[in-house]
């Protein structure tokens, strides 16, 4: 399977997906951390993908999403944005609302945070 296929599988198959630098256990970039922490505060259970093992992952991801920077957050297959947007949505209360609307009222704390290795 190509990276493109694997990336699409994660985006479409995860309630909340974050493509980040590093992993939730070892975050390698401040912006990835900002987005991850905001999602955690909102109660989201994320599926994380580290883009650092191969530069091709990031190139293929950007080709799919049309979004040039990392992190990238998707909810139910739809791009929500990067760290600035996720934090802005958290501040306005829309982040929780979006998660509830797309994932159902009992989305919070369901399942385990997981990391998917693509490389």
């Amino acid at each position: 399977m190509t990276y493109t296929d694997k990336i699409k599988e994660v985006i479409d198959g995860s309630d909340v997906a974050i493509f980040m630098k590093g992993t939730p256990q070892f975050v390698m970039c401040g912006n990835s951390d900002r987005a991850l922490q905001a999602l955690r505060r909102a109660g989201a259970t994320v599926t994380a993908v580290d883009v650092l093992p191969d530069p091709q992952i990031r190139q293929d991801l950007t080709a799919i999403s049309g979004w040039p920077t990392i992190p990238q957050v998707f909810v139910k297959g739809e791009l929500v944005g990067g760290a600035d947007i996720v934090e802005e949505l958290e501040a306005s209360g829309e982040l929780g609302e979006t998660l509830r609307t797309k994932l159902g009222d009992d989305f919070a704390g369901v399942g385990d945070e997981r990391t998917v290795a693509l490389a």
Partner: protein, 72 residues
């Protein structure tokens, strides 16, 4: 960068570019423009990325934080 944003958003009421670290590669940009009104945040940020595509591609901008506003 300010020039690129101003030509991409000729109706802008506010265009601000802040060098966050003083190193000339970590920036916060603020754009307030009526043409952004009604667009989702994703679309608003896309417009900013498009305006700054060249400095993003050549590495002039290492990190970019974006704050956008439509018409109040």
């Amino acid at each position: 960068m300010r020039g690129l944003l101003q030509s991409a958003f000729p109706d802008a009421q506010e265009v601000d570019v802040i060098d966050r670290t003083g190193g000339g590669d970590h920036f916060q940009v603020i754009v307030a423009a009526p043409s952004l009104t009604g667009l989702s945040l994703v679309e608003q940020h896309r417009r900013v990325y498009e305006a700054l595509a060249a400095p993003l591609a050549d590495g002039t901008i290492h990190e970019l934080r974006i704050k956008t506003k439509g018409a109040a």
